[in-house]
């Protein structure tokens, strides 16, 4: 019987995102060449919310893109029948820009590795930053986030489930133990 405990409810998520948005603007010294790229799935929705918050703070629209990393996964042969490939769409040229990768959970780091490879096929950003809602530890590659909502150490037999209003009807992050 899996046990579930709430890590962040909807209010906590909103507070975290607000803080992350300001941190972002601070780290990037403004927003002039900023573009947010959300990783499919749920990273996309988080990126869009962050963009709106930053727009609220700074008064200018931030371009937001979507990136699906399925074709760049390093375990493509092992995972069996193909997962559905989501949409990839980058609204602006990446050359010389500050790109912020946005994802819901950071774990082994392989998703981000795939994202970095894919972005390299699109152009050469001046600077790439990583922004995640939850860092659950357990890294298998030397990849670290620049902006984090919540750090939560986890064991391999545990799982972090993130739900977002746009896809799942509510905002909720919980820890699931098998």
């Amino acid at each position: 019987m899996p046990s579930r405990s709430t890590l962040l409810d909807d209010r906590a998520i909103a507070r975290a995102l607000t803080r992350m948005a300001s941190e972002l603007v601070e780290r990037c010294h403004g927003t002039s060449d900023l573009v947010l790229v959300g990783i499919q799935r749920r990273g996309v929705e988080l990126a869009q919310r962050l963009a709106r918050m930053i727009e609220g703070l700074e008064g200018r629209a931030i371009p937001t893109g979507k990136l699906d990393i399925t074709l760049y996964r390093d375990d493509l042969q092992a995972i069996g029948p193909r997962p559905v490939i989501g949409e990839t769409h980058l609204p602006v040229d990446l050359d010389g820009r500050t790109v912020v990768i946005v994802d819901d959970v950071l774990y082994t780091g392989r998703t981000i590795r795939a994202a970095l490879d894919e972005l390299a096929d699109f152009g050469r950003p001046r600077l790439i930053l990583l922004c995640v809602l939850i860092d659950r530890g357990g890294r298998e590659l030397p990849i670290q986030p620049d902006i984090v909502g919540l750090r939560q150490a986890t064991r391999p037999d545990e799982r972090i489930d993130v739900q977002v209003k746009e896809l799942d009807g509510k905002d909720h992050v919980e820890l699931v133990r098998a």
Partner: protein
Amino acid sequence: MTAPTLGKDLLGLEYLSADQIRLILDTAEPFKEVSERPIKKTPALRGKTIVNLFFEASTRTRISFEFAEKRLSADTVNVASVGSSVSKGETLVDTARNLEAMRIDMVVIRHPSSGSADFLAQRIRSNVVNAGDGTHEHPTQGLLDLLTLRDRFGRIEGLKVAICGDVLHSRVARSNIWGLRKLGAEVAVCGPSSLVPRDIETLGVTMFTRIEDAIAWADALNVLRLQLERMTAGFIPSLREYNRVFGITRDRLAHCRKELVVMHPGPINRGVEIDSDVADGPHSIILPQVTNGVAVRMAVLYLLAGGVPDWQQQGGSE
């Protein structure tokens, strides 16, 4: 409900379920985007070896497959050999065994004998993609035709598609009939009766003897290439007569619905089955077909290379 998978090979649309066909079409969408990028490559099939085994001369299909393979970062080898294996001296069985001995991952085969893709697939463990076997099937052409229609009309169900021309000798016609029927379209054929197979109506297809009737009825015309050999084999008296009686000409389309689209698997015999001003005109969606061809082939190769069914739903990111 378990997600559909494709199995080891793509041999024909007759063997696929509607769900499997939709899976391929849906998977083709993100691959369209890859072809629009500055770097038209993803590493999805990196390290895979694919042999294009073409026993029939074909430029466009082979090139389309080659682009699909290279854009997936696969290593490709082209083997071109005109004529059947019998005249070549090496049987198809031996070719198959040699390929397997070289540990080829996938084979794309085009061959003049119907059933040759099935034959190869039964004898090697590599994935086999049928790029056209005799007059039997050309499944990737059928799929890209479906995708192009779906792009244009938003659906396949209920669409009226008329396949026009030498249906008897056309593998494109057969694949189209299977694919369209499975996805709920209404299908008709139109051509000289000497070029329409017996019992075609048993496949759920209506027949028009006059091209004007087909044009009035259809949402889309899929115009087949008429080959010179048909004339010399005595099926029709001349190409000129064919164009006069069955050709898709501007006059014939003068009063048709604005939304009618015209497709053609290529290469076009201008002035025979279709006139130049139609092929280049506002109803034509021939070029989108070609673009979709690469995306569909990428989707097929990607899905086939997918390995053993051990489906785990993708959950949170890692």
